[in-house]
């Protein structure tokens, strides 16, 4: 009976990893829809291609080397041991002998972790949208998923020096979101803003997204996926206290998103006189990112406030970045970076130490920013990051993908006599 229970708990917790991992995988669809809805029609197919490719690259590189760098058998605390590919899994005998200390499949842990890497990469694709070439971007993703993300992930979740210092980051406001946003920031600074986005004397030109229903759908998908992101990061569910913990996490995650939406929407109404849907969508994400560093400790009321503040921060950050002429078509740097910082600081409201959180923020930011800057620069020097002015005008769908996302609604087809053959 005892062994049966141990095996059952193992199976349940393994299932938990797998199902929560699948939820986080679904966030890839969320990012894809959100980004494609916020870019212009002529650049939609390219961002769709970018998103599905980066997810695939993340899975491949993390399996080849990233996972082992992040969770090594040994390491100095700063430099992890190097190993390639995935190892084996636990046998029933080992599990039963451990009395339940070994409580999940190694493969399920890998699966749960790999979808987080993809999330970090996905943050970058939105910020560099509409003017970066596809393959140089994918090349950066190879480095992001095999080196940049895993090393700083090792420092915190792999048992490295940040973890030893007491830095807290439950589900990845820092390790995933701040890291992704910082890599995006470095990329955007080298890439430059979209042609026509900024004018003289600080004038900012609007470039409205082509499909707000998709953007909204994407946000809801991300919201749903986030239950896996935060809920799964409790890492275990098979007893009363853990099941309760997971439940609090789900509730807090949900409330933080809700607070983020209303914070951003109300602020947008007050600041612009209009209720900007795209700000509300970014607010939801900002709220979710804000609670991700510590979704368990706060009361539901506090989680709501943390998310609401995230929603306010996102609006201010978007406006500020535009003032600094840092062009981010989807608000990724604001929702994931600025709110990631807030989320890490907010941990100190309920647990941990503010000083240690600041320390962690600086480490993650500096590592990611400097290494990303170097890699982006090298890729730019060798291959060039940016499309030509002509390609940007025509739309990257044509130049990078050779097809259009909405061919029946494009200018090129309006004058064509017959696109679909009648014979």
């Amino acid at each position: 009976m005892e062994t049966q229970l141990v095996e059952l708990a193992y199976a349940l917790d393994t299932l938990y990893f797998l199902v929560m991992g699948a939820f986080v995988m679904w966030m890839a669809a969320g990012f894809t829809m959100l980004e494609s809805g916020l870019v212009r029609a002529k650049n939609t197919a390219e961002i769709l291609t970018k998103n599905i490719s980066l997810y695939s690259i993340a899975c491949i590189m993390y399996m080849v080397v990233g996972y082992n760098l992040m969770y090594p058998a040994g390491g100095s605390g700063i430099v992890p041991d190097l190993a390639f590919f995935l190892g084996g899994d636990n046998t029933s005998e080992e599990v039963i002998k451990s009395g339940g200390d070994i409580y999940y499949s190694n493969m399920s842990d890998h699966f749960f972790q790999v979808v987080f890497v993809a999330t970090a990469c996905s943050i970058i694709s939105g910020a560099v949208a509409e003017r970066m070439r596809l393959w140089p971007f994918l090349l950066f993703c190879v480095f992001m998923t095999s080196v940049i993300y895993p090393i700083q992930g090792y420092w915190k979740w792999g048992g490295g020096f940040l973890d030893a210092a007491g830095f807290l980051d439950f589900a990845g406001s820092g390790v995933v979101h701040l890291c992704g946003a910082t890599a995006a920031l470095a990329g955007v600074m080298i890439l430059g803003s979209r042609s026509g986005k900024y004018g003289k004397e600080g004038k900012v030109f609007a470039m409205p997204g082509s499909n707000l229903p998709l953007a909204t759908l994407g946000t809801f998908i991300l919201w749903l996926g986030w239950f896996g992101f935060n809920g799964g990061s409790e890492l275990i569910i098979s007893n009363v206290s853990e099941a309760n913990a997971v439940s609090i996490i789900f509730v807090n995650t949900n409330l933080a998103a809700a607070g983020g939406v209303m914070g951003a929407l109300i602020l947008s109404k007050l600041m612009f006189g209009k209720s900007d849907l795209t700000m509300a969508l970014n607010g939801a994400i900002g709220g979710l990112v804000s609670i991700t560093a510590e979704p368990l400790a706060p009361t539901p009321g506090l989680a709501l406030i943390i998310g609401l503040i995230g929603g306010l921060i996102v609006v201010f950050s978007i406006i500020s970045l535009d003032k600094m002429r840092i062009d981010d078509p989807v608000g990724a740097i604001s929702a994931h970076g600025t709110c990631g910082v807030w989320g890490l600081l907010a941990v100190a409201l309920t647990t941990g130490s503010l000083f240690t959180q600041i320390y962690g923020i600086l480490v993650i930011f500096l590592w990611t920013f400097i290494v990303s800057l170097i890699i982006w620069s090298i890729i730019n020097m060798i291959f060039g990051l940016r499309v030509t002015a002509e390609e940007e005008e025509e739309g990257v769908d044509i130049s990078e993908c050779g097809l259009e996302a909405y061919p029946e609604f494009s200018k090129s087809l309006e004058s064509a006599p017959s696109v679909y053959p009648t014979k």
Partner: protein, 112 residues
């Protein structure tokens, strides 16, 4: 024969069409266009950035009529297409040199 070109607000299309039909106009060509007049368009906001929408959607009607129907056509359009607000549109009248019905080859007034 006169070609009456009327640029009107899109939501007025049905009303104008019915009024023209009532006075005996037998053919209209409609195109979706964009345009502005003296007062230009309006401003919209997107993520805090203001932008001016100069060109507003309009519908352009081209109506070929016999000379004796031209005045009534214009009156009909004026009566139904006007709202009294900015952006109501304009009417231009051109002289038609020749008109031909493609199916039968009829020319002149018989083609209208």
């Amino acid at each position: 024969m006169k070609l009456v070109i009327a640029v009107i607000k899109p939501f007025k299309l049905d009303e104008v069409r019915e009024a023209l039909s009532a006075i005996g106009v037998q053919g209209i060509t409609a195109t979706e266009v964009k345009g502005f007049g003296r007062q230009k368009g309006h401003t919209e906001l997107y993520r805090g950035a203001e932008y001016v929408v100069d060109f507003l959607p309009k519908v352009k009607l081209e109506i070929a009529v016999n000379d004796d129907l031209a005045d009534k056509t214009i009156e009909s359009i004026l009566a139904t297409a006007a709202t009294g607000k900015i952006g109501d549109g304009k009417i231009f009248v051109l002289e038609i040199q020749e008109a031909i019905r493609v199916r039968t080859g009829e020319k002149g007034n018989k083609a209208l």
